[in-house]
């Protein structure tokens, strides 16, 4: 029989990876819980503010993904005023968001994901980092990663008016057009980003397909869940970060929903569990069966692999080829292998680089018509984009003078919350047998949730040290072991 323990609120630390693993009497894993942060108090903070301030406020929620919040927020503002933005404004926003995704995906892959494959999972932790990667692949690649990361950041800065805190997107469009000089500069940088992204995909394919230990790690059953997937698709069903409809597919790959952002409440419900501050979104029409996989469970996943799984393909040629190679490798669609999120992320990085270049070459990009001043009566509005980490919903309700009455955000990491817990539990189950804890536990559990690129940093980092991780193993009322890294 499984004995349960209550985790009191005082132990609910925020801002770092805190994991509780519960063992049954035989010493095997009964349950595992990963604590991630929630944006508590945000609604209250926003109440009574003019809605047009929201794109600047929400971009400061998180130091990692200001660009995605800026875009989802301004789209919600457009909807609040019922305004249709000029084509050039939409293209500017798309250019900005694509550059933002390139920036985020390059960082995640090279700083965090790649070292598990190059130099490799068997490498000691001290060398399994960005420096070990540069050692293994050479200084030149390291320099190019930094350089192209800088380009992706610079493009965002040119369009958004500030490199860190975007300010240019306004209800009804953009604050100013792009000059021809800026367009040319962006085009040059985008060319370099495409080559960088192609090389990153090649690096991953070589590290996975060329090394059996990695292919079996990715293709094995430790990191595998048959779940639903959700993500934005364009009118042809292809991946799109800025706009489209949210498509949901079943574990068998069948479309179960295709909806406009405005209808999200018909499709997504949020469950509250006593052990976490974080809500657990699930598919309303399937229903909540707990943190379990399979077609009967409303648990769904977002982020890179989910976007590829719900799409018919990629809208750019090089990314489409890479997409086809991924599905040919696994031979199934959807792909349920969690570590393939890394591969999918690089395919998206290539797609967004190609999109950045395509948009930079668009003759309409320097059009002076970038804003329609909203004249409608404000009401409520919902904006959705794909953030790097998955679908991001902003929902605002205002009074008749445009002051915020109600705010609801559904961020990507929250939507992957149930799946991350399942992944942590599965990895832990493989590494804890009859009370014996494998030395690889921390690393392997970390790989389980890192594939989702969770925004543990979304709130304040209340603790010092490296990416802090704390795993507590409980049996009955007893703590049998506590493993920590980066905590003092």
């Amino acid at each position: 029989m499984t004995r349960t323990i209550t985790i009191s609120p005082i132990t609910r630390l925020e801002g770092h990876g805190k994991i509780d693993i519960l063992l049954d009497d035989a010493g095997n894993v009964a349950d595992a819980y990963l604590q991630v942060v929630e944006l508590r108090g945000f609604e209250k903070f926003c109440e009574g503010r003019p809605v047009e301030e929201m794109p600047r406020i929400t971009s400061k929620i998180c130091g990692v993904c200001p660009g995605a919040h800026h875009m989802a927020s301004v789209k919600a503002c457009d909807a609040v005023y019922g305004v249709t933005i000029p084509p050039a404004a939409r293209k500017l926003r798309e250019l900005f968001l694509n550059a933002h995704i390139v920036h985020s995906h390059l960082l995640h892959f090279f700083a965090l994901a790649a070292p598990d494959f190059v130099p490799g999972a068997a490498t000691p932790a001290a060398r399994r980092n960005l420096l070990g990667l540069v050692d293994a692949v050479g200084l030149d690649l390291g320099k190019r990663v930094i350089e192209n990361r800088g380009y992706a950041q610079k493009i965002q800065g040119i369009i958004a008016g500030h490199p860190i805190h975007p300010v240019a997107a306004l209800p009804g469009g953009m604050a100013r057009p792009l000059t021809e000089e800026e367009r040319v500069e962006i085009e040059t940088m985008a060319r370099s980003m495409v080559v960088m992204a192609e090389d990153a995909v090649k690096l991953f394919e070589a590290a996975v397909l060329g090394r059996p230990e990695h292919a079996s790690l990715i293709g094995g059953d430790t990191y595998y869940h048959e779940t639903y997937y959700a993500g934005l698709v364009d009118e042809h069903g292809r991946v799109n970060f800025y706009d489209g409809k949210v498509r949901v597919v079943s574990p068998a790959g069948e479309e179960v929903a295709l909806f406009d952002a405005a209808d999200y409440l018909d499709h997504i419900a949020e469950r509250v569990e006593p052990w976490s501050y974080l809500k657990l979104p699930y598919l309303k029409k399937i229903g909540w069966q707990g943190m379990v996989e399979g077609p009967q469970s409303g648990v769904y996943r977002v982020n890179s692999l989910a976007r590829l799984n719900v799409a018919t393909g990629m809208a750019t040629p090089k990314a489409q080829q890479a997409y086809e190679r991924l599905y040919a490798h696994f031979g199934t669609k959807p792909v349920h292998h969690t570590l393939a999120y890394h591969w999918a992320r690089l395919i998206e990085c290539l797609f967004c680089s190609e999109e950045t270049l395509r948009l930079a070459q668009d003759p309409e990009m320097t059009s002076k018509e970038v804003r329609v001043v909203p004249s409608g009566k404000p009401g409520s509005g919902i904006g959705v984009v794909e953030a790097a980490r998955g679908t991001l919903y902003h929902h605002y309700e205002t009074d008749t003078s445009g002051m915020i009455k109600k705010v609801n955000l559904i961020v990507a990491t929250v939507q992957n919350n149930a799946a991350m817990n399942m992944s942590v539990k599965k990895a832990a189950s493989k590494l804890i047998k009859e009370g014996q804890v494998s030395d690889e536990l921390l690393d392997r559990v970390e790989m389980a949730f890192r594939a989702y690129d969770p925004c543990l940093a979304c709130a304040t980092h209340a603790l010092p040290g490296e990416m802090p991780l704390e795993v507590t193993i409980h049996q009955g009322d007893r703590v049998v072991r506590r493993l920590t890294r980066g905590l003092q």
């Binding site: 770092h16 990876g17 944006l39 508590r40 108090g41 945000f42 209250k44 903070f45 406020i57 400061k60 929620i61 998180c62 130091g63 990692v64 200001p66 960082l107 995640h108 700083a111 965090l112 980092n129 960005l130 420096l131 540069v134 200084l139 390291g142 320099k143 930094i146 990361r149 800088g150 950041q153 610079k154 490199p163 860190i164 805190h165 690129d453 969770p454 925004c455 543990l456 940093a457 709130a459 304040t460 980092h461 209340a462 603790l463 010092p464 040290g465 490296e466 990416m467 802090p468 980066g486 003092q488």
Partner: protein, 157 residues
């Protein structure tokens, strides 16, 4: 000595933003010509966009280390990883960023790195205001920075 001062944090996350508030106050003062002050949300690889070419880096940041709120500390050497935003769950942390920078562009990276921290007790989730204790610590942070700048001035004379 070319010096870059970086204030880190979010100004809508209460005391989390103390580094940015301090940087803004510092910018109001008369600083030596070779000193630049900027703001960042985090101190990951993005720092490399700004720091290359400087001789020295001074970071202003919040920290939670169990001391009384408002306590100001100066971190150097291996301790620079301990500020609230110097660890990164999403990408490279400050020591990795600096080490990578030195590997890639050795001669153009600051040789000296110090972090001025303020202990923040209550990380209010969303507020544009600092708590009284933390706000009161800003003058000491700024005095610490100015002392660092003066020491450098003397050592180069």
């Amino acid at each position: 000595m070319r010096t870059l001062i970086v204030g880190i944090g979010s100004t809508i996350r209460g005391d989390d933003g103390v580094g940015v508030h301090a940087a803004r106050q510092l910018r109001q003062r008369t600083l030596p010509a070779e000193v630049d002050v900027i703001e960042l949300g985090t101190a990951g690889l993005g720092l490399l966009d700004h720091v290359v070419g400087y001789d020295r880096l001074i970071v202003l940041d919040a920290i939670v280390s169990g001391e009384e709120p408002g306590v100001v500390r100066l971190l150097a050497g291996d301790d620079v990883a301990r500020g609230a935003h110097l660890a990164a769950g999403h990408e490279a942390d400050l020591p990795t960023t600096l080490a990578l920078g030195r590997t890639l562009v050795a001669k153009r990276m600051p040789a000296e790195v110090t972090v001025v921290t303020v202990e923040v007790g209550n990380l209010t989730p969303f507020s544009e205001h600092l708590t009284v204790e933390v706000e009161a610590a800003i003058p000491e942070m700024l005095a610490t920075v100015e002392q660092l700048l003066q020491e450098a001035g003397r050592s180069t004379e």
